[in-house]
């Protein structure tokens, strides 16, 4: 019964989504207020039915209803409850339903909280959101119905969930990532509504800012969690691989940073409206592209794409229609939103605009590197890596000027500035940053490569410059309490970036990765640690067997940690999995993962020393925190 109810609700939601753009659209044409007003109740009704459908699928998972094909394929009676719940988004159909569910959540929030917006504007926003929802619901129902039954002969138990996915990080990673992706639909809808209405006197940028910040913060946490998961679960010690799935989320993220800053220009200075609106479209287009890349099956399996081309083609067509229509509208209306306000060369405006250009160009370079191998892969079934030499080469150089500009923007004024005065404020910052960037590595490390001085110097330059800005601000306001939430948000976000840059730099240059053959009771020196392979014993878990190593970590004769890396063999699927053991620390991680037993005795193992690796995720969390703070501050206004 419940699965049928879920399916029925989905169909009702599709009908309502259709009405959500049709009726109010008619109202706009005929200037009929009643029909325009229908957008809100219809949107709420649509969200209601989508939630019912989502809960029905959740119920099927919790109840182990293996007559539902999707449940049978992604869950299993012996799974713990949390994994049964997260299995809902473990596959294609469920994660699409999650996408739609989150979109309806955002839509509901907009229609409940934005009643103060001019009626035609809000109506157009809801029409755009209705169209997006309509497209995705149609896609779900036509090609990927999650409620298909396996009747009359349904399995007694389901297939196991991929052991790689049975992990806390992956329970919350997709919902957060999708919150971000989907959230960019709101600034997109606002931008379309603005272009459609063509009225440049509306404070659209003010309205868009908190939504963009919220979506960005969710996406940041989502990406950081993915990176953290890859680090401890995959057993390679890498935290970023530039692989297409990661890039799919990274591209909207990097352009969203540009959008957040041009929104500020639009809001406060009434300039660059066109650029802002275009970026809002581009960010959502990249989110859709990301969904296409991840969900069409192009990435998970080359063959899935070939076997079920309907899905990929539908998504590609939808992408072309939505983005094509948006950009067509832009090309007709953008002219109305430009003005020829004079911009001074030495000004906060210039610093922001130049940074956004660098951010967008680096995003474009990543897009190029991501799509080329994918097209190649989908067509020939051959794998080809563009690899990180390309991405590092195109990405890092663009980030250097952005980081250089980061303290200059806040510390200069809107409008005309005297270059000398701006630099005067930052003289000591510059001297300190350079001094520490050379001094600290000299003190603690044996070698000081140029890359370390550059990365550390840029990071310190941003931290010290932002601190200088904060102190100036506190002096003006009189106390710390006088600071606005926006100012605090900016402080956290900018120092977060700097912390991340320092983490990336130090771990890249000073990490030690040893892939060794090690026998029992043998020891190994890594940095100033001594690792001893103490013991090895067989283990047996609920659905796996394997071996567990016992390693001792000594520093200058003092025992610092006991690590127990494992090699597990999952019996049902015959998968061999590595359970990494990590001794985490603020300044360094010791990371051990067991490889394979060797013929000549002993084991192959990866033993890594990863200095400052945690700073990467700490920095990302600070950025997200900053985003939430700013969004909160804007919300209260």
């Amino acid at each position: 019964m419940m699965p049928e109810l879920g399916l029925f609700s989905l169909i009702l939601a599709l009908c309502l989504a259709g009405l959500q753009w049709f009726l109010p659209g008619l109202g706009l044409l005929k200037h009929n207020t009643f029909w325009m007003q229908s957008a809100r109740p219809i949107a709420l009704g649509q969200s209601f039915f989508i939630s019912v459908s989502f809960l029905c699928l959740l119920y099927a998972f919790v109840q182990d209803d293996f007559s539902v094909s999707y449940v049978a394929h992604h869950s299993n009676a012996s799974l713990p409850l949390v994994y049964k719940i997260s299995a809902l988004w473990g596959g294609h159909e469920g994660s699409l339903l999650l996408w739609i569910f989150l979109l309806s959540g955002w839509t509901t929030t907009v229609s409940l909280t934005q009643r103060h917006l001019p009626r035609p504007f809000l109506t157009r926003v809801l029409i755009v959101l209705g169209m997006i929802s309509f497209g995705f619901l149609l896609f779900l129902l036509a090609t990927s119905n999650p409620f298909v039954r396996l009747l009359p002969n349904y399995p007694v138990d389901g297939r196991d969930l991929n052991p790689l996915l049975q992990d806390f990080g992956l329970i919350i990673h997709p919902p957060l990532l999708y919150m971000g992706y989907v959230g960019f639909a709101i600034p997109f809808a606002f931008a379309i509504s603005t272009l459609w209405g063509g009225d440049r006197s509306l404070p659209f940028a003010k309205w868009m800012r908190s939504w963009t910040l919220l979506a960005f913060s969710f996406l940041t946490i989502g990406i950081a969690l993915g990176s953290w998961w890859a680090y401890y679960e995959l057993g390679w010690g890498g935290w970023w691989f530039w692989d297409p799935v990661e890039n799919a989320s990274f591209m909207p993220w990097i352009v969203a940073i540009a959008l957040i800053h041009t929104l500020m220009l639009s809001d406060k200075r009434q300039i660059f409206h066109g650029w802002t609106l275009l970026l809002a479209i581009v960010v959502f287009a990249l989110s859709l592209l990301g969904t296409f890349l991840v969900r069409s099956g192009v990435l998970t399996s080359v063959h899935a794409f070939a076997n079920d081309p309907k899905r990929g083609i539908f998504l590609l067509e939808f992408l072309l229609v939505v983005v094509g229509a948006a950009l067509t509208l832009y090309s007709f209306r953008a002219k109305k939103f430009t003005n020829n306000t004079k911009i001074y060369l030495i000004s906060r405006e210039t610093a922001i605009v130049i940074s956004t250009i660098f951010l967008v160009v680096s995003g474009a370079a990543i897009l190029l590197g991501t799509l080329f191998p994918l097209v190649f892969d989908a067509l020939t079934n051959q794998k080809l890596s563009v690899g990180f030499p390309y991405f590092n080469a195109v990405f890092i150089p663009f980030m250097i000027p952005v980081l250089l500009l980061m303290p200059l923007g806040p510390l200069s004024q809107w409008g005309h500035n005297v270059l000398g005065l701006v630099f005067k404020k930052l003289t000591w910052t510059l001297i300190f940053a350079l001094f520490l960037a050379v001094g600290l590595p000299l003190l603690f490390a044996e070698t000081v490569p140029l890359g370390v001085v550059t990365g550390l110097g840029l990071g310190l330059w941003v931290i010290l410059g932002t601190l200088k800005w904060l102190f100036d601000k506190i002096q003006i306001k009189g106390s710390v309490m006088g600071l606005s939430k926006g100012a605090l948000g900016m402080f956290f976000a900018h120092t977060g970036i700097a912390v991340l840059v320092i983490g990336v730099t130090l771990v890249s240059y000073y990490q030690i990765e040893r892939e060794v053959a090690i026998t029992l009771h043998q020891s190994l020196d890594i940095s100033n640690y001594k690792i001893i392979f103490e013991d090895l014993k067989p283990i047996e878990g609920a659905n796996y067997i394997g071996s567990q190593g016992h390693f001792l970590v000594f520093k200058q004769g003092k025992r610092e940690a006991d690590l127990f890396p494992e090699k597990r063999i999952f019996v049902v699927q015959g998968l061999r999995m590595t359970e990494t053991a990590i001794d985490p620390g603020f300044f360094r991680d010791i990371y051990i993962s067991l490889g394979e037993p060797l013929k000549e005795g002993g084991w192959s193992a990866r033993i890594y020393y990863k200095p400052f690796v945690r700073w990467i995720w700490l920095g990302a969390l600070m950025m997200a925190l900053g985003g939430f703070f700013s969004a909160w501050g804007r919300w209260l206004k």
Partner: protein, 175 residues
């Protein structure tokens, strides 16, 4: 007019994706096929003090495989080469592309070295001269040092048996 630019760029991208569905990029023509292998003089991974040039291709059929430790597909392809190199007694030359010498040495030591010689192309000079798109890539070079075939992407056994192996055999027989 300039407001049309984003739309045009997007349509070009979309058109490219769409058209891409019909094109078979296995047939990427290489300007180098039929030409002598370009000159290089590079160190080897096994011994960084030993330099080799394109002269090593002379007198035997060479399989030249471009790889790197940062390349996930290469790590997967590695097992295939371990198998093929022994089975068919190949003169398999590796090119370690844009990589770190220590990591390459450790990798080969840890999982086995299928290469007779592995050239260390740290700066990607050889890759540039040979027109490498990305890793992995494989070239077949005949006894006279002339490039005869170029394969982009990783090798699968089916393609090996249908195309590469017959080509190597016919070149071995001096056709």
């Amino acid at each position: 007019m300039r407001y049309l630019l984003p739309l045009c760029l997007f349509l070009a991208l979309g058109g490219f994706l769409w058209k891409g569905l019909d094109v078979n990029p296995k047939e990427i023509p290489s300007a180098l096929v039929g030409h002598p292998a370009p000159h290089f003089a590079l160190a080897t991974v096994e011994d960084p003090h030993r330099f080799v040039t394109e002269q090593i291709f002379m007198g035997k059929v060479t399989v030249l495989n471009i790889w790197a430790t940062w390349c996930v597909s290469c790590k997967a392809e590695h097992a295939v080469w371990m198998d093929l190199a022994i089975k068919y007694n190949l003169f398999l030359v590796g090119v370690n592309y844009h990589d770190d010498l220590k990591m390459a040495q450790q990798w080969l030591k840890a999982v086995g070295n299928p290469y007779v010689i592995c050239i260390f192309d740290e700066a990607g000079k050889l890759g540039l001269d040979y027109g490498v798109y990305g890793t992995p890539e494989t070239f077949i070079i005949d006894k006279a040092g002339v490039i005869r075939y170029r394969h982009v992407g990783s090798i699968d056994t089916q393609h090996w048996h249908s195309t590469l192996l017959p080509l190597i055999a016919s070149l071995e027989n001096g056709v």
